[in-house]
């Protein structure tokens, strides 16, 4: 069972959380301005990486907050957690492209 550090409540057992899918996928401001393909990409396309993944979790049975987690999908190691709305932190080993 993962031990996840809620940015507000500290480390808690995975049981208290719900998973929320990939992070940093913002809902388009004007959905009607998107063509079908762009909208489908927003709806359905996810990166599904082997390695460090930015994903959303919610401290459902806790403070109720959504937040983001960098988790290695191979080892389940959690690199860091950070509040929703903050950019993905750059990793020491992570190069340039991830700091969006």
């Amino acid at each position: 069972m993962l031990l996840i550090t809620c940015p507000h409540c500290g480390p808690r057992a995975e049981l208290e959380f719900s998973y929320g899918g990939e992070a940093h996928i913002a809902r388009p401001i004007d959905p009607t301005g998107l063509d079908d393909e762009a909208w489908a990409t927003f709806l359905y396309k996810r990166s599904n990486p082997k390695g460090v993944h930015a994903e959303r979790w919610r401290h459902l049975h806790g403070c109720g907050r959504f937040f983001n987690v960098l988790r290695d999908t191979i080892s389940d190691t959690i690199v860091t957690t950070y509040p929703a709305g903050q950019p993905r932190p750059a990793l020491p080993s992570d190069g340039k492209e991830n700091a969006r």
């Binding site: 069972m1 507000h8 409540c9 500290g10 808690r12 057992a13 049981l15 208290e16 459902l60 049975h61 806790g62 403070c63 109720g64 907050r65």
Partner: protein
Amino acid sequence: MPDLAIRENSLGRLASAARTIPAAMLTVLPDAAKLLFRGRPSSIDAAGKAFGIALPMEACRFATSGNRTAYWLGPDEWLLQAVGEDSAALFAGLAAALAGHSQSLVDVSHRSDAFALSGPQAAYILNHGCPLDLSLQTFPVGMCTRTIFGKATIMLSRPAPEVFHIDAWRSFAPYVWQLLDEARSELA
């Protein structure tokens, strides 16, 4: 004021048949007025002033004064509890004081019922379903949090080293009580 005598506690029947197990006692707590306050930071002071207790800003802490307690539940969420008070009057007072603020106040007095688990083995029994580290270092007196017990969400607080208060939604409260009661069988 409504005829409070007709109010039914979801734990009433279980409580009246509760076993006496000093190592881990189960006791129903009195009914209370409970308001859920959520709001912008600018409204927090006003809420605290109107309630009579400064709302705790530290995560997972509660503050008590007399029959009133303010529980931190989330960064924009507090449970304001007043034991033995009429929620309508409490609500009206706070709502007036908070007029014009960006906030939400909802009466949840009947949503949950509360009980105490107390005794030297209280933490051990609570860990039969609650995954938190309940040592006094990591869950000190004065701490509160929503967490999980078995398959139910509970609000857990620790007013004294060997006393835990458990607040659970009405339809889950008997389940939580019964699971704890089953767990403490080995101490009977």
